[in-house]
Structures are given as C-alpha cells and as structure tokens.
C-alpha cells in the first residue's frame, strides 16, 4: 500500500487572473472609439481630424494606467468591467466632440450665452479625474469590507449630499447642483454609491431580524419598527428631498435600489409586493400634487401634441432622431440630432447614437450596458460575504435602473426624468462617480475571485502515521 502523505483536497493552484484577456479587450475598447473619431472627422470635413492622435494617445494612456492599477492591486478582478467602461467613455467622448462641431449648436450657444466653448476637452479632463478616482479606489480600498465600518457615516454623508443642492439656485428647473467656484457638482450621482454602502452595511447586520422577527399582517411579514425604522426613514427622506428638488429620475433610482437590496437581504418576496404597492401609491400621490410630473406624463403620452409642442419639442425631436437613424443609421457625423438643442450632449446623447449608428448600433450599445450589469450581478453571486453581495447587487442594480430610466425616457418608453447616461453623457459628476462605482465593483470581484489561500500544512499529517504491525 502506498503512503498517503497529504489529506487535503484543495490544491494551491492559481486560478487564471485573466489580466491578459483584459488587456486585449482594452485594446479594442481604445481602437474602436479612435476609428469612430476618424469617421466623424472624415464625414464632417473630409479629412483626418487634427486631434485624433492626441485623443488616441490620451484614451490609450488612461486605459493603460487603469489596467496597470488593476494588474497590481486587483489581480483577480473581473476582466470585462474595465474594457466595457472604457469603450463607453471613449465613444461618449467622440459623440460629445461630434456635437461640439455642430454649427447649429454653436450658433445656439452664441445666441444664448454670447459664446461657445467645446465640451469634449472638459469631458476628457473629467474622464481623467474619473480614472484617477478609479485607481485611487483600488489603491486605498484594499478590501471592500472596510466600508462596513462607515455604515452610519455614509448615511449622514448621503443625506448631506442630497440636502446641499437645496441651498443652491435651480439650474434648468431642477435643484440638483452645487457649485463650487467654477465647478458644478451633481451630488446625486455620488449619493447613489454612498447610500448603497449604507444600505449594505445596515441590512447585513439587520437582515435576520428583518426576515424573521416579524409579525404577519394580511399574509405579509411586517418587520419590527426598530429594525426597519432607520432604513425606512433614510429612504423616505431621500425621496422627499429629491421630490422637492424635482429630481425624479434619482428618486426613482433610490426607490429601486431600496427595494432590490431589501429583497436580496431578507429573501422575502413580500418586499417586492410591498415595494410595488408603495411605488404605485407614491407615483399617484406625487403626480396628483406636482404639476411638473403631470406635465412629464403628458409629454410622454403626446410628444407631438400641437398645444404643448413648444415644451415637449425636445422629446419629440429625440424620437424623430431615433426614427431618422433607422436600421443602419445615418453614419457618424451625418445626422441631425443636434436639432434637440439643449442637453443634446448630456441627457439626450443617446439620440445621437440612435440617429448616427442606427438600430444596429443601439442594440450593441445597450448590450454593452447590459454586460456591465451582468458582470456586476455575477460579482454579487460570486462574493463570499453578505456585505459584498449586497453592495455589488446594489451598485449594479442602481446602474441598471439608471440606464433604463435614462434610455427609456429618451426613447419615450417611460416619462422623461432627466438623468445622465453613465459614461457617455457629458457631465463631470456622472463620469467620475461611475468610474468610482466600477472601481468598487472591481474590488469586490477581485476579492470574490481570489483563490482560496493554500491550507496550512496539516499538523496531523505527520503524527498519524500508520504503523505496520
């Protein structure tokens, strides 16, 4: 008989880190936008755009830095998240640059503000800041579980961030901005991450109490007030603040986030029923006293109505933009999506994609977003700790809802609410916050996919030797 020397079943073989896969995908994620850039230039002026080398090198450099940071600090992270985000950010930059070239928008800006300044360079700067934050998250956040410690601090931070815009003047009808000198920040974008951290931390601790210590009421399990109270209060406050700031998209996002995380934490389907009921009550309630909301619904149902055309024109223009794109699109730089005018390169940038890349491009584009969400949910499934699971599903759920609300609004699927399409829309806060979101997801996925440490050598292995008689 042979001698058994080791009884452990877990080997210490390294799981593939997939860093080279990521590098190759990143190559595509840089090359595709560069080609798109060249395409726009050729379509508009018939020659190679002057900035193409700077742009290519810039995007390549940013992607390279991000990749090196992942290679060094999150070796086992999901290989798809970074390339997908880079691709979206790169294409967004091209589209913003394309809209910068529109004589119609330049003329409009000169008429309204007496001058025009291109947005693409600013967006490139925001992207750089975003990637810096991404790298910062990877370096500073060695383990996502550290965030648990800041559960209540993040609650306070989120509330402060949400309340702050009230003290600043409304911009275009919504009080969602705070301005610091030359910079304006949309705190809602950051609040979405911070509130997900609070929900995860709180729910991880209270989930058993919420799920089990409950009273039955009309077939539903209602948890005790002291368990549900704090979270319900935070949630209600965020919604109220946002309603007062008329930031409908973000309030919808927070509501969805709340329901999803509560459901995942308690595993009780009754929360979904409860959530749907509350959202129905909330929607009807808000719609009945808020003329702003009624108007939005009106425009959604009748975007081309003669009576309201002056105000609903933008949504109508966006729809016609999609229609004009048709199956294959007009080609980059050759559409008329700039007819949308105001917010063409931020809230409505999806219309430019729709018009110039057509149905084919839109499907690919939406699937890229779908893939990011899918990788996020997969990270949640793979995560070994409940906090990681909750945070990952919260962040990817928020991302999915944001994409749905924005794209659905612009495409006339749901009433328009006014948020930004992650990564592609012009806007510093959005790009920076979403890069941080991807950073946290990558950190969780790194922890989740990291191979289990090799077992310590068994001390018994030597002691229990079979002695031959």
């Amino acid at each position: 008989m042979s001698v058994v020397t080791n009884t452990t079943t877990i080997g210490a073989i390294d799981a593939p880190s997939r860093r080279n896969t990521e590098l190759m995908l990143l190559g595509f994620a840089v090359v595709i936008p560069v080609f798109a850039y060249i395409n726009v230039g050729l379509a508009l002026d018939g020659k190679l755009p002057a900035g193409v080398f700077g742009y290519g090198i810039g995007l390549g450099l940013l992607a390279g830095v991000a990749h090196l940071a992942v290679r060094k600090f999150a070796k086992y992270a999901d290989p798809l998240l970074l390339p997908l985000a880079t691709l979206l950010n790169g294409l967004g930059l091209v589209m913003i640059w394309r809209l910068d070239q529109s004589p119609r928008l330049i003329q409009r800006a000169q008429k309204l503000f007496g001058g025009f300044s291109p947005d693409a360079p600013k967006q490139l700067m925001y992207s750089a800041i975003g990637i810096a934050l991404f790298v910062g998250v990877l370096i500073l956040l060695k383990d996502h579980r550290i965030l648990q410690r800041y559960t209540y601090i993040s609650m306070a931070a989120a509330l402060i961030l949400l309340i702050l815009p009230v003290f600043f003047p409304a911009v275009n009808g919504a009080k969602i901005w705070i301005s610091l000198g030359p910079f304006t920040i949309q705190p809602g974008e950051f609040a979405k991450i911070i509130i997900a951290i609070f929900f995860s931390g709180y729910l991880m601790v209270k989930r058993d109490a919420l799920a089990l210590a409950s009273r039955r009421f009309m077939g539903l399990y209602l948890p005790r007030g002291r368990d549900l109270g704090p979270i319900l209060m935070v949630w209600a406050m965020s919604i109220l603040i946002l309603v007062f700031e008329t930031d409908l998209g973000t309030s919808l996002l927070f509501f969805g986030l709340f329901v999803i995380m509560l459901y995942v934490a308690t595993e009780r389907t009754s929360w979904i029923v409860f959530g749907l009921l509350m959202s129905a009550v909330g929607a009807v309630g808000v719609a009945s006293f808020e003329p702003h909301v009624q108007q939005r619904v009106d425009f959604w149902l009748n975007p081309f109505a003669e009576k309201t055309w002056a105000q609903s024109e933008q949504i109508g223009q966006a729809l016609m933009s999609f229609g004009s794109g048709g199956t294959l699109g007009t080609g980059l730089g050759q559409g008329d999506s700039d007819l949308i005018g105001f917010a063409a390169n931020s809230d409505f940038i999806l219309s430019t994609f729709g018009e110039e890349m057509g149905l084919a491009g839109m499907m690919a584009f939406l699937l890229v977003y779908g893939l990011i969400v899918e990788r996020g949910v997969r990270t949640a499934l793979a995560a070994r700790d409940p906090f990681g699971k909750l945070l990952a599903i919260g962040l990817s759920g928020a991302f999915a809802i944001q994409v749905f609300v924005v794209a659905g609004g612009v495409m006339g699927l749901i009433p328009l609410t006014g948020m930004t399409m992650p990564f592609v829309a012009y806007g510093g806060s959005s790009v920076i916050a979403n890069w941080a979101l991807i950073g946290i997801l990558i950190r969780i996925s790194d922890t989740a996919r990291r191979p289990a440490p090799a077992p310590a050598p068994s001390p018994d292995a030597e002691m229990t030797q079979v002695v031959r008689p």
Binding site: I260, E267, F322, K389, G397
Partner: protein, 489 residues
Amino acid sequence: MNKPLRRIAIFCGLLVLALLVRTNWLQYVQADDLNTNSKNRRVLIERYAAERGNIIVDGKPITGSVETNDTDFKFKRTYVNGPMWAPVTGYASQAFDANQIEKLEDGILTGNSDQLFFDRTMAMFTGDEKKGGNVVTTLSGAAQKAAYKGLGSKKGAVAAIDPKTGKILALASTPSYDPSTFAGYSGKDEKAWNALEKDKEKPKLNRALREVYPPGSTFKVVTAAAALEHGEIDDINAATDTPEPYILPNTRTPMINHANGCENASLMKALEVSCNSVFAKLGDKVGRDKMLETAQKFGFNNPEIDTPVRAAASVYNKTMDRSSNALSSIGQFDTATTPLQMAMVSAAIANDGKLMKPYMIDRLEAPNLEVIKRNEPQEMSRPLSPKNAQLLQQMMENVVESPSGTGGKAKIDGVKVGGKTGTAQHGENNSKRPYAWFISYAKTDSGSPVAVAVVVEDSSGTSRDDITGGGLAGPIARDVMQAVLDSKK
C-alpha cells in the same frame, strides 16, 4: 442570498430587454412614421441640402436655387416670374412646407426619389455633388403670358388644354402671389406669408384648379351634348317646341330669357344667342340621370382629376328634383365647375368627342437629363360621338362667327374658332357681381391645338350691365389661343 440575486439578475435583464424592444419599435417599425412627421425638420433640411432641381417650361427653368449661409438650409428656392407661374409650380418654403408640383415631385427635385437611386449611387462613386432632377412641364410660356396678362388686375382664372393630347398649356390665376417672398424662414418671409394668409382676395388659391364656380351658360354646351347623345335632338336647325315664357317643371316660376327670339328657337339659334328657356326645357326632357351621365363623362363629379396637382371636383347634383335639373341644365342651381373642367368640355368637343386626360408634367429628368418617366397622352372618356361633336362644333363656331352671336370678340382671322359665353349669377338673390365665363377652342386644318376656359370673377371697374362672358372673358381667350397658334407656326 443567491436565489434573490438570480431573480434580480433576471429583472435587470428584463430592463435591458425592454430597451432593446423599444429601440426596435422606434427605429424599425415606427421609423417611417417619424421620418414623415410634419414636425420633422429633417425633411426640410434634406429638401434644401442640395441644389434643387428645376421646373421647366419651353426648355427654360421657371425656378432656381440660391446658396445661403444658413446652418440648416444650404439652398433657398427662387422663382422666375413667380406670380405668373405660381398656379403651376406651387411653392417650396423653408418655413411653410411646399405644395403642388414642388411638393408632389419633391423626390425628383431633391434627388432623393427611389427612381434616382442609380444616379445617386453613381454620383457617390464619381464624387459628384448631389443634385436634384428636373420636372419638364407641358405648359406654353406664350399662352401662360397671354393668360396672365389678359387677366391683369381682374380676379379670375384661365385654363388652356391641347385637345389632342390633354397637355395643359396655360394655368393662370389672379390675384396671384410670388412664392419667392416666403421661400426662406426669416421674419420677412413670415410676414409675407401671414399677409397672404390674411388677404381676403385669397391670392394663394389656385383658381384654375382648386376653385369651383357656377358655369352659367357655358354649361349649355354640355346640355346640348347630352341632348344629341341621347337622341332628343337630331336636327340642330329644327325648331324646338319651346314656349315663351317657359315655366320650370312643377313650379310657377317662368324661366327668364335675356335674349330675344327664343320661342321655338332651333338648338343652333338657342346656343348662338344663349336662350335659357330652350336649354332648361331640353335638360328637363333629357332627364337628370342622362344629363348626369353625360356630365360625368366630361369629368364632373370626379374627385380624382390629377394633373398631377389634384383639381377640385366639379359638381352636377345627383339627387335633385326636376325643376332643379332644369335650372342646372343652364349652369345654375348646384352646378359648379373648375376652369379646368370647362376647358376639358371645350377640348373634348374640339377633339371630335374624345376627352384626353389633362396633365401638366411632360417628363421627369434625372440630374444628367436622362428621362426617368415620360407621361403619354391618355384617353379619359368619350362623352360624345364624332358626329355629334362636329354638330356641336358647328354651333359653337356659329356663336363666334354669326353677327348676332355672343362670342364675336374671340374671332381670329384665318382660323375657325368655336366658343360659348357665360354670365353666371351668384350670391343670394343674385346680389353679387356675376362671373363672366368664356370657353372656346381654335381649329386649323390639322385639328385643334388649343381649348381655353376663362372665368373673370369680379371685375372692378366694369359696370354691372357690361359684365358679359363675351365682353370680358372672350378677348382673354382669344389672346391665349392666338399665342398658341403663333407658337405653332
């Protein structure tokens, strides 16, 4: 926690799926609707993105394009002699859409038509600028000028047709407008447009095609045709059994004659001096249904006379009683016609009973002048036999030739001219100024080259008693016919 996670994953998948379905719905199913939406500025931008093709008369363009510095519209439409040609071209405005030929043949003029697909593809390879094709009309510059000049400051319309082919030779309407005054979209253009919209004289109305008038006595040729066709009259010189005064059937209302010698007048005489009683009685004898049959063969009650600009339907009431039918037979009661319709009546008679479909686009040309589509003359119907048509010709020529005839002013030396005057009452109790009508044709040895209908709506400056079809409208018709005859030489 994994079970709810999987469900959330499915939920997120459904969100993305909903977006995918929606984008398919928008960009595939609804794309055409959205692209043709009247609020879609792209249609306009596209319309003026390239140099627009031209509408051509006698080989020369009557439209043009100028380059602008606008961000939306690269070119702007211009018109040569705009007011004269407006009833033919219509307008193409950056702010107020387009109409008539400019709208109907937009595809050719912009170069976006599927028929030009090959040319576009070739231009893509050769690197040529995109250009629109041309619309070549059947109109005659000389006839149009004569018509427009003849109408002058009077309100009215002229339609002239080549009876052998149905080609429209002139289409004038006054007062008119200049489409170039609102071709752009500036404040000035808007002001011009609003002024036209508010103008009580309705200058934008195409009276030759789109306005219906009571035809008055000119309709008597239709009644005569019906009587001949349905065998009520064999000999046009035989006395008709018409009392003076003639009482309308089932009423006590006598038919008033403005002419003398209508008692028992022959058809020939009755047309010459325009006897109401003879034709009212004849119409009653033919009966409503047979009158209707003949009128419809001439084109009445047809809502789809497309030249390709659609003409308003002329009316011969289908359900009226006997006395109304008698009144209708002299062009009163509900009877209403477009000038084009009366030109068609005259043309069918001049063409020995064969009515050709009127059309004004001869051919469509690609930017390289290659013919894409050519319109061939089409027979529309045969309202009367050649023999009866010749009898009517005799009577209509008599109207012009005979010293006591009402159409003397249309006489042209060396050419046979047939005509019929009309003075149509309108307004409550005949309160408004009557319409002066004249329909005619000219005939040479090789058949008739032109048939004309002229209506003068309101002729300020003419005293009421002097308003007669022969006096006011006759000379205009003569000039138009003369212009066509001269251009044939």
